[in-house]
Amino acid sequence: MTVVEARGVSRVFPMPAGPVVAVRDVSLRVDAGDYVALCGPSGCGKSTLLHLLGCVDGPTSGTLFFEEHDVATLGDRERSGIRLRRIGFVFQRFFLLPMLSAAENVALPLAEAGVPKPERDARTSELLRYVGLSARADHRPSQLSGGEMQRVAIARALANRPRLLLADEPTGELDQATGEQIAELLGRVNADGTALVIVTHDPAFARRAGRVLTMRDGTIAAEERHR
């Protein structure tokens, strides 16, 4: 079943010096359980395409379908609902809320989705156990290492059991060993049934994906299948 599909999408940013085409006429389909890696040089449009797939940004032209819904026809409430319940985000800089503990960060999307507290607490514990951070539940982000913060971010992204997990350079700020642990964890998430699209500069990390899409100048220049 198709989770997200881009059909001939482009994204043009108006700039003072003239419009910049970040993504040019890209078509891409991500099915349930897929593991896709987006690679390519800096500025080739990887992150912009990821944001389009995540309903964070809208295409200038072309059509984007999320679970067969044309995203362009959806309002802020519906797009926010998709981001809350159907998509998880993991970023290079973690983006945890510093005033909340690890458990509270994980519980935030659950609370927003209206999950009752007992169920929320159980799910939060389950997720922290899943990412190996049960002992750090009450720690604030400032008390966690980079790898631990990224684990919390992954747990938060998985809170509402999303169909699609989008990760933008999730190992970019981590040392190699920690990065491999995160890559391992993301592989496990995908193996458990969540479609995964990652943006990475790390070839070794990209090789873990079933499909590696290499972008250049806003277009998908090459596609490589590993399994």
Binding site: I82, F89, F95, E112
Partner: protein, 291 residues
């Protein structure tokens, strides 16, 4: 400034007509009965170390010649008058016959019958204008006017308008300052708002959160301001009452003033925080989460 009701420390009511004048104090005679009574202002009594029962001698001459002895039968607090805040408050109140006997010239047979000016205190000050009109029509040659109809009232109208203008400018400037401060504070939370939006909170949801926060802060700030004003009220009044030696009330935070402050401050506080947040929420989600 508001003048409180006059307080007289002696229960003796001299007469409905009270005359006052500034007199030279002569050395007191030996205590004795039979002297006419006099009321002294609290300031005069304090300055001269006098109290009820003391005997004082008043003279209309600087040299003290022809001094007449009076027994102090009470000390009173002069009616505070904002228009005479710097005037000397050394006053004495005598019975009219005593005053006339002391001031009238022996060569002028009508002197004891002549009064230039009298102040009349009414039980109901609201009827002053009607009373003045009544006297003027009934007693030819007498000009009567209510104190409230004098130019004192117009001075205070101008003063109140001046205060209103200052208040408007202050509130406007505070609002601009508050808005600028809110924009800075909200911008500091840009990343947090971006994360919340990325997670899936709608703009409306974030705005509602900001509204609630703004409301709490505005209410807390307003209440803090009121408490500060109430605390300052006492200090300011005490200082100026001491400085001018008066019972005038210079600052008073009435319930109406408090409610007015809350009605202005709370909506402005909420408006500033919501307006500042709205400028942020109009931006794209990705911009919010980027640095």
């Amino acid at each position: 400034m508001r003048a409180p009701p006059p307080r007289v420390s002696c229960p003796v009511l001299l007469s409905a007509v009270a005359l006052w004048c500034t007199l030279a104090l002569a050395p007191a005679a030996a205590p004795g009965d039979g002297h006419p009574g006099v009321l002294l202002s609290r300031q005069l009594a304090d300055a001269q170390g006098l109290s009820a029962g003391d005997v004082v001698r008043f003279s209309t001459a600087d040299s003290g010649a022809g001094a007449v002895a009076f027994t102090v039968i009470g000390i009173y607090e002069p009616t505070p008058d904002p228009m005479q805040i710097n005037a000397s408050k050394f006053e004495a109140r005598l019975h009219l016959p005593d005053l006339l006997a002391m001031t009238a010239s022996p060569d002028d047979l009508l002197a004891a019958e002549t009064v230039d000016q009298i102040n009349v205190a009414l039980h109901d000050p609201a009827g002053a204008i009607e009373f003045a009109r009544h006297i003027t029509t009934r007693v030819p040659g007498v000009q009567a006017r209510a104190a409230s109809s004098s130019n004192r009232g117009s001075v205070f109208v101008v003063l109140e308008q001046f205060h209103l203008a200052i208040a408007i400018v202050t509130i406007f400037a505070s609002t601009v300052f508050l808005l600028a401060l809110s924009v800075m504070l909200v911008d500091e939370r840009r990343e947090t708002v971006g994360v919340l939006r990325l997670i899936g909170l709608t703009s409306r949801r974030v705005l509602a959160q900001v509204f609630t926060e703004g409301l709490l802060i505005a209410v807390s700030g307003s209440l803090f301001g009121l408490v500060l004003a109430l605390a300052s009220e006492s200090l300011i009044n005490r200082y100026f009452q001491w400085h001018y030696d008066t019972a005038l009330i210079f600052v008073e935070v009435t319930p109406a003033v408090a409610v007015q402050c809350l009605l202005i401050a709370v909506p402005l506080g909420v408006l500033a925080s919501v307006a500042a947040s709205w400028t942020l929420l109009r931006r794209q989600v990705l911009f919010l989460a980027r640095r």
